[in-house]
């Protein structure tokens, strides 16, 4: 039964990916979709996706929730843990029971367990031989992902990153592609827009993000476009999602 529904979910996911990739899509929205979809299909509870920036640091671009806790955990993951190992080696890292790895990644393990996550799986984001980031999926159960699960996460990630064009690559080795830079820039815009909403409506940063995303999806707009309009104070997304 589970296998059937997973198969259906997977087909739906690949159809959606193919649809997206043949249109004029936004990288940030695509990556948000990717982490949400993988979290759902692989039966995990939370996920975060990091991209490498121009100075080689991993930056959180998309996550299943913008709650401070998950953000914090993912930031720690950028400094130590399976995600960083996965990014450096370019191969998936699955940790079935976090409690066995406390010695290896003390800070990351402690924070993950404190938040109730007992297993984590990291998938590298690859773009034509280059590792451009990694995706973390967290589960509240102790469970090693099986090879089929790992392959699913990797396949979805690979197809999604194929969409990141390389034709506009900036040649300098220390600088990433224009499209990846756009993703990193959009993230800053989204944070600024969250601040605008927090100040105008008193909502939490997480609710502010939910409102931005809802408005973007309901109106078929990119997250960056909605964020831009919120910052310019020409769009009020709080009224549309309050009900």
């Amino acid at each position: 039964m589970t296998a059937n529904s997973r198969e259906a979910q997977l087909s739906a996911a690949f159809v959606k990916l193919a649809d997206t990739l043949v249109t004029d899509f936004d990288v940030v929205d695509l990556l948000h979709w990717l982490v949400e979809e993988c979290t759902r299909i692989l039966d995990t509870e939370a996920g975060g996706l990091l991209l490498v920036d121009a100075v080689g640091e991993l930056q959180l671009i998309a996550s299943t929730s913008e709650e401070a806790q998950l953000v914090e955990l993912t930031l720690i993951a950028a400094g130590e843990g399976p995600c960083l190992d996965c990014f450096h080696t370019g191969t998936a890292v699955t940790v079935g029971d976090m409690q066995n790895n406390a010695g290896k990644w003390p800070k990351f393990t402690a924070e993950a367990i404190r938040q109730g996550f007992f297993s984590v799986h990291a998938t590298p984001l690859r773009l034509r031989g280059q590792i451009i980031g990694a995706m973390n999926l967290f589960s509240t159960h102790t469970r090693e992902l099986n090879p089929a699960d790992i392959a699913v996460a990797q396949a979805l990630a690979d197809v999604a990153t194929i969409g990141i064009l390389q034709e506009r690559t900036i040649k300098g080795s220390s600088i990433i592609t224009a499209q990846l830079q756009h993703a990193l820039d959009s993230r800053i815009l989204i944070e600024q827009a969250k601040g605008v909403l927090a100040a105008t409506s008193g909502m939490t940063m997480n609710d502010a993000f939910v409102a931005i995303r809802a408005h973007a999806r309901n109106n078929n707009l990119t997250l960056a476009k909605v964020a831009d309009d919120v910052i310019a104070r020409v769009l009020d997304v709080t009224t549309t999602t309050a009900k």
Binding site: A178, V196, I231
Partner: protein, 228 residues
């Protein structure tokens, strides 16, 4: 143990290795580049210049308080002067008179943006006249964005003798950008001015931008009601 030749502490951090001007020179058909950011006091701080002409071009504009890089910084737009000798220099008459002494054919100033906030400008020059095509303009803007957070951090380090914010965490935390958004509402202004006010307040209080930003985000500090 030998000290670093330049006298600078050797940092393990990646951003220490990134020359902010070099990516422009490497990837674009230009002769040289300079990068300036707005410091906490509101002045422009030169972070790098790839050669003496680029340095002089930056200096002249700083001294005169006018020129393409000021316009790029203030308006957040790209300023293109493909032919310096024949351009109309209405916006910067004194600069126009001084630039003639330099061997500069074309000048291009690109805003350095952090989200919706403009934090500085990169000024590129070529010794011969001629434009920059769309692809090169896109590349220049992408490089400008890519160096933004490192540039801002360096400017902060120049402005204070403070220990820079922890180098182990990503350059500028989300709270800084969220606070910028909150302050722009509180002061009914733009993201550019909101960020500069955040930076100036932190400087005046002898605190880090991140710690002030956290107070703003947790609503313990509001810029429309600042304690004196």
């Amino acid at each position: 143990m030998m000290a670093d030749a330049s006298g600078n502490p050797t940092e393990g951090h990646n951003s220490a290795r990134l020359d902010l001007c070099q990516p422009f020179v490497n990837d674009l058909p230009i002769s040289g580049a300079s990068v300036t950011v707005i410091s906490s006091s509101g002045a422009q701080v030169a972070l790098c210049a790839s050669d003496t002409v680029a340095a002089r071009l930056d200096e002249i504009q700083f001294e005169l308080g006018e020129g393409p890089q000021w316009v790029a910084t203030k308006t957040g737009t790209v300023v293109l002067l493909p032919d310096v000798s024949s351009a109309s220099h209405e916006q910067w008459p004194i600069f126009a008179a001084s630039v003639g002494q330099l061997n500069v054919g074309a000048i291009f100033s690109f805003p350095i943006r952090m989200g919706a906030a403009t934090v500085g400008a990169a000024t590129l020059y070529r010794d011969t006249p001629g434009g920059l095509d769309q692809d090169h303009q896109s590349s220049a803007l992408a490089i400008a964005s890519a160096i933004a957070s490192t540039a801002v951090q360096r400017a902060m380090t120049f402005a204070t003798d403070d220990v820079p914010e922890s180098v182990a965490v990503p350059a500028l935390r989300r709270e800084v950008h969220q606070a910028t958004g909150m302050i722009l509402v509180q002061l009914d202004t733009t993201a550019t001015i909101a960020y500069s006010r955040l930076q100036a307040y932190a400087f005046a209080q002898g605190r880090t931008v991140l710690s002030v930003a956290r107070d703003v985000v947790t609503r313990t500090l509001a810029f429309d009601n600042l304690p004196l």
